[in-house]
């Protein structure tokens, strides 16, 4: 799998670059808009996505411009939303479904796992399920219960689904465009606490492949691997470490299924150490799979066991404890310290 080295790398290839600075939320909105303009079969559906534009305003203005048949306020029923999106896909549409918050995807879990994920295989490849399920996920916004969860491993574990999570505005734009174009179901995890983080988006660029990882900071002492909201945390950790004379490499995995192990392997072969960081509980999480695979691929390059930083085997705590629950720069650097101590 090819790795991209920088966001803007390919923009020159397509002529005049059109670079705009925007927050992740706006980039997603723009991506949906472009996708709908390019393909009349693309639909947006979910709770409150119409007039309200979604509780995070990701679909803001789309109903006004594309009408109620393409931007559909659904009844309040997630199983209904995903189940009917499957039907629409069977009829040739490309539904982009919004689940209002991470904790509310579970009424739809049955449809996703038993139907959406398996239908292509059952039909011996005769039908395609181009459904995107957008989930604003993870914590850090001081919300009440069920609004801060990181359930990505529960989906990545299921064959037939692809799972991605952008960490910056440019990726948010391009990965959404690519997810909509994908003929496979994609669970699109949006790092809600980073929605308002701004970045440059070149809408004329040639994007990296959807499932390619990217080295977002180079370093020699230890690799940090993350995706979604934790990429920023890892970059901050790397800056703090630099002041102490340590050089950390940060790899943005971008995709949790499939995972671009080639890019990660190359990094670990250089640094000899790997710390995987996510908000989701560590136990049987994405990091567990990364640790196992990288250990197989890089056994003789590793100077330390692959370490994981993430959530505990406990329900997501009330908001006043989330700063301590969530992996921050200190917990990341603590793991780096431990890796370097071997």
């Amino acid at each position: 799998m090819a790795a991209a080295t920088s966001t803007a790398s390919a923009s020159a290839a397509s002529g005049t670059p059109d670079v705009r600075k925007m927050p992740i939320a706006k980039a997603l909105n723009e991506a949906l808009r472009s996708s709908m303009e390019n393909d009349p079969k693309v639909l947006v559906m979910g709770e409150d996505v119409g007039k309200l534009g979604g509780v995070f305003r990701i679909t803001d203005g789309l109903q006004k411009d594309f009408g109620e048949q393409r931007v559909i306020d659904t009844p309040l029923a997630e199983s209904g939303i995903v189940g009917s999106a499957i039907g629409l896909a069977l009829r040739g549409y490309r539904p982009v479904v919004e689940i209002q918050f991470d904790g509310f995807v579970f009424p739809a879990y049955d449809q996703i796992v038993t139907q959406l994920a398996k239908m292509h295989a059952r039909a011996l490849g005769k039908i395609k399920l181009p459904v995107v399920i957008r989930i604003p996920y993870a914590g850090g916004i001081g919300a009440v219960e069920h609004h801060s969860e990181s359930p990505e491993a529960l989906f990545a574990h299921v064959a037939g689904l692809k799972c991605v999570s952008p960490s910056n505005a440019s990726d948010a734009y391009w990965m959404m465009r690519q997810a909509v174009e994908s003929d496979d179901p994609v669970i699109f995890f949006e790092p809600k606490r980073r929605y308002w983080d701004k970045g440059e988006v070149d809408v004329t660029a040639i994007p990296a492949p959807l499932h390619a990882a990217r080295v977002v900071r180079q370093g020699g002492d230890c690799t940090l691997a993350a995706y979604g909201p934790m990429v920023k945390t890892c970059l901050e950790a790397a800056s703090a470490a630099e002041e102490e004379g340590r050089s950390l490499e940060v790899v943005d995995l971008r995709s949790m299924s499939p995972i671009d192990f080639d890019t990660l392997q190359k990094s670990v072969e250089r640094t000899g150490r790997l710390v995987v960081v996510h908000e989701a509980p560590v136990f049987l999480g994405t990091g567990s799979e990364v640790a196992a695979r990288i250990t197989e691929r890089c056994f003789y390059h590793l100077e330390a066991p692959v370490l994981r930083v993430g959530g505990f085997h406990a329900p997501y705590p009330p908001a006043r404890l989330e700063d301590e629950y969530l992996p921050g720069l200190d917990r990341v650097l603590d793991a780096v310290d431990r890796a370097l101590a071997y």
Binding site: G50, L76, P318, A341
Partner: protein, 496 residues
């Protein structure tokens, strides 16, 4: 590199001083306005961006400020006044009413069935015209009779309902302002739904069991739950905050519709036990679309479970109008499942009480479930994070303002001389005391201990939780001032 040297470095990195108290402060500081002492630049930045990502309108209000340390030490004192008040409210449930309800129970059942039959033919799909709305008190405060639902309350009981509604509204508006002040992360206001909640809540016996959504502050009040306990989850100090078994008032359920099934199962258990308690499940118009709610209807019908489904149709599910959920008036759904449904004026506390009593008595006497659709209106935003101007007209709210549940009962009480000025003044006074109680309680509400993350994950303990608890305690202790006794490390090994 040695372990000690790395530990020392990370300690310095975190707090700048290496002190445990400083560490604590740095974790909470970003939430306090301007209180960034001891916070690393990176941490401050992190929390800033976090606050910015709150849904919609909360964008700039950010997270609630953590209680200052000085207030945290003073324990939550519960003013005697409110405690007494809520007890008095409970005592105001006279034996007479219960008897009255029971004596009419059997008659009511057949009548309810008739109501369903007649309304089944109603052609309306718009949710109001052509459907029968049970009403006993008009918006103008006129007492009217209904052929199927009679009610005979003492003056004292009537005044009690008024008082309940006023205090509930006061509590609610106080909570809304506390959210504005940053004391709560979020609040879901019940403004406009007081009659639906007090009327139904006062129809219940102590041994009945309530399954609320997240907006049933008035029902909680009727059950005798200290209102300030409802604030914890909205402040972010817990995910529940009260013992559901002490008032037979289950925890709030945020995931829409789930509790309808829990209520059904609980009611099945009541039947298996040969008891005559009733169970009531609250949910909204939006929730009526959830599979869980339809499945609850199916189960309760098949098992003839003594459960009352109390749907507050407040016309909106966030930005979606009730028509987005159904082509028929919601109460008519019950017919298809084989039990009666009735629509009641949700802003009429007398009608809500009368209809819920009938439904509860029906359940008690072995006649199974019933659906009540309380036709009401969400006067405020969905929650404090919501901006209703994006999706609904101001005029609509104004129309409902004229149907206010409290105003109409007050008019009736005044017009018929059922309450004097002294009564209204005393309720006003109590309402002030309630406001004070709530404000004080929130300011003295303790933050949870960090290690509470690992508490009550399992009833019988779990090796991984124990291991992670110990590791985390050790990690926290690595920041501790070596001169101070270690924080949680001592308790780290304790099994749970």
């Amino acid at each position: 590199m040695t372990v000690e040297s790395t530990a020392a470095r990370s300690m310095a990195r975190r707090s700048g001083t290496g002190g445990k108290s400083a560490t604590k402060k740095s974790a909470s500081a970003p939430r306090e306005a301007g209180g960034t002492t001891g916070t690393t630049a990176a941490t401050a930045k992190r929390s800033k961006s976090a606050g910015a990502a709150s849904p919609a309108k909360t964008e700039n209000s950010g997270k609630p400020a953590k209680a200052a340390k000085s207030t945290r030490t003073s324990k939550t004192a519960q003013p005697a006044k409110t405690a007494k008040a809520s007890k008095a409210a409970k005592a105001a449930k006279p034996a007479k009413t219960a008897k009255a309800a029971k004596s009419t129970a059997s008659a009511k059942t057949t009548r309810t069935a008739r109501t369903t039959r007649t309304t089944k033919a109603a052609p309306a799909v718009d949710g109001s015209a052509g459907t029968e709305l049970v009403q006993l008190l008009t918006p103008e405060g006129e007492r009217v009779e209904h052929p199927d639902y009679a009610i005979d309350l003492s003056d004292e009981e009537l005044r009690g309902l008024y008082r309940d509604m006023v205090l509930t509204r006061r509590f609610d508006s106080e909570a809304t302002s506390l959210q504005r002040q940053g004391e709560l992360g979020l609040w879901a206001s019940l403004l406009g739904q007081e009659a639906a909640q007090i009327g139904s809540g006062r129809a219940l016996r102590d041994d009945d069991y309530v399954f609320p959504t997240y907006r049933e502050h008035g029902v909680a009040w009727c059950r005798g739950v200290d209102p300030t306990k409802l604030l914890g989850m909205f402040r972010g100090v817990n995910n529940g905050g009260w013992d559901p078994t002490s008032n037979n008032f289950h925890l709030y359920t945020i995931v829409i519709g789930s509790q309808a099934l829990h209520a059904t199962g609980y009611a099945m258990g009541v039947t298996f036990d040969g008891a005559d308690s009733a169970v009531i499940a609250y949910f909204g118009d939006g929730a009526s679309s959830q599979g869980d709610v339809a499945e609850a209807f199916t189960f309760s019908a098949v098992y003839n479970a003594p459960v009352v489904f109390f749907c507050q149709n407040n016309q909106w599910a966030i930005s979606e109008p009730a028509e987005r959920q159904s082509r028929v008036p919601l109460y008519q759904r019950a017919a298809g499942f084989g039990f009666p449904g009735v629509r009641v004026d949700g802003n009429d506390v007398l009608a809500c009480l009368a209809v819920t009593r009938a439904a509860v008595e029906r359940a008690r006497s072995g006649q199974g479930p019933m659906l009540i659709e309380a036709f009401t209106y969400r006067m405020g935003a969905h929650t404090t994070s919501d901006d209703p101007t994006r999706y609904r007209r101001d005029e609509e709210r104004a129309e409902w303002e004229a149907k206010d549940p409290i105003a109409r009962l007050r008019t009736y009480l005044e017009k018929d001389g059922l309450a004097d000025d002294a009564f209204f003044a005393s309720v006003e006074e109590e309402s002030e005391a309630m406001g004070k109680h709530v404000r004080e309680a929130i300011r003295t509400m303790p933050d949870p201990d960090t290690m509470a993350i690992f508490e009550n994950v399992y009833a019988d303990g779990h090796a991984l939780v124990d291991e992670e608890r110990a590791q985390f305690a050790e990690y926290l202790a690595s920041f501790a001032d070596p001169d101070e006794p270690a924080h949680s490390a001592a308790s780290a090994g304790e099994g749970r």
